[in-house]
Amino acid sequence: MIPFDYHRAEDAASAVALVSGTPGAAFLAGGTNLVDRMKLGVAQPTLLVDISRLPLDTVDVQEDGRVRIGTNVRNADLAANTVIRSRYPALSQALLAGASGQLRNLATTGGNLLQRTRCVYFQNPTTPCNKREPGTGCSAVEGYTRYHAILGASEDCVATHPSDMAVALAALDAAVVVMGPAGERVLPVSDLHRLPGNEPQKDTVLDHGELITAVELPPAPARSAYRKVRDRAAYAFALVSVAAALELDDDDAAVPVIRDVRIALGGVAHKPWRALQAEAVLRGAAATEDNFRSAADAELRHAETLNGNGFKVPMVRNTLAAVLRDLTGTAGPDASAPGTDHPEGPSGPDDAGWEK
């Protein structure tokens, strides 16, 4: 780690001015991702502007039903907030599925959005990486791709965004409030992160010195949920994840019709992936297993898999169907139904490595 200056910000505007005017400066909030990268030599700021003590740490319910989340609200506190838990369960579930309890006590809302990829080559400064060092090449494309993208990647970068929270926010149609030297702007969270294209070093559309001051949630959807699939039961990044928010036409119908739906996928792209194709199939459609699968297929039609991540296509398809099933209260297929079983014994099929 190279030496750096440290400045504790007095207020947001002066913090923005200071970082904007200092090329090597970075904002420091919880530090759980930035300090990690600084130790690896992946981030090398020369000045840290500490915003963690600015009073941007409240969750406020507005009169119009919107909810404004200050950038410094800790992940643990946001997940535990009673308004979030009751109205936006997908957001609580996503937060609680991320990292560990003690990390969530440090990590902040803004910092969570701006965490960077876990691509092992990005994190190892001795290997080529276009995101870390533009123009050096992508080591992942032909390397270890278990956690890499199947949607929207480029030949320059196949990294994924690791946040769980951001996926839920995308499905909830949240917006981020950004303060820059010229004032404030608001943009949909789905437009915050970008696809890698030929500039994978840019994770987001933010300019240097722009500060996320808040996240705004629109009025809550009727139902929402977040489901994360990972390699171990806890404390692991997503292989894939699905966030969905939806409204049904008739909640009590035997086969309800989906009036509106928003879906975001995690672990599959350089950004939280709004599944607009799947949404289009489902909007106005009956909540049936066939429609769930068709929706997933529509979204995954353009998936491009690498050597080690082809499993994400069926994993997304199945997980999306499972989430929609749960949210709409419909029954799933019987996994042990005839036709899927594998009888064993001397008269069974010859597929188990033995012969008679």
């Binding site: 440290y6 759980t32 997940a79 609680l96 990292a99 560990s100 990390l103 440090l106 404390y235």
Partner: protein, 206 residues
């Protein structure tokens, strides 16, 4: 770059000059000689460095000391009163009685984390193991809750089964104390369930 800071460590104010790069963990271990929090990964991936930072469990390896000037830090050593023969905290006693560790290296972090989750659950903070996210009030620390909440503390010796038993015991002790404050009739549970926790042994079968 250097900075002069003060940390309240296990109840004692400690002033020191740190490199801005120094983490709370390294300040404690290398500069203040407080080695109860351990360095297992230095990247927030194992939890061995867990301390109570301003009352909440946190990975001290990712917390820059300069950013936490003025903070209160409680380590596992401090939970026991900060003296070598200070009485063990109920969480520590439970870890000892349930054999919730082997090599001991992750243990101070586990102990701080356990103390943290007992407070978090009592305050109603949910986890992915919480059945009803909407329910308000304190959350019972079922085994599933304990396992999920303690998953930020890796133990390579594989003492998890006993860690869960220890946290369960400590949580029961804490609950009994809370209830006991309201109703002195309720006894405080501190006995070791040693006999019950041992597997049954069949008679000699050879």
């Amino acid at each position: 770059m250097e900075a002069r800071i003060t940390l309240q460590v296990d109840g004692e104010p400690r002033s020191l000059t740190v490199d801005t790069r120094t983490t709370v963990l390294d300040a404690l271990r290398d500069q203040l000689g407080v080695t109860s929090p351990k360095k297992g990964c230095d990247h927030g991936q194992c939890g061995a460095c867990t301390v109570l930072l301003d009352g909440r469990r946190a990975n001290s390896c990712l917390a820059l000391a300069v950013a936490h000037d003025g903070a209160e830090v409680i380590t596992s050593e401090g939970l026991a009163g900060g003296t070598p023969d200070g009485e063990l905290h109920p969480v520590q006693r439970a870890f000892l009685e349930q054999d919730g560790f082997q090599c001991g290296y992750c243990t101070p972090g586990q102990v701080c984390s356990a103390a943290g989750i007992i407070e978090e659950a009592a305050a109603g903070h949910p986890s992915t193991a919480t059945e009803d996210l909407q329910a308000e009030g304190g959350i019972d620390l079922t085994d599933a809750e304990i396992r999920e909440r303690m998953s930020g503390n890796l133990c390579r010796c594989g003492a998890y089964v006993n860690i869960v038993a220890a946290v369960r015991q400590a949580a029961e002790t804490a609950a009994a104390r809370r209830d006991g404050a309201a109703n002195p009739e309720v006894p405080v549970v501190t006995d070791s369930p040693t006999a019950e926790s041992m597997p049954e042994h069949p008679e000699e079968r050879a």
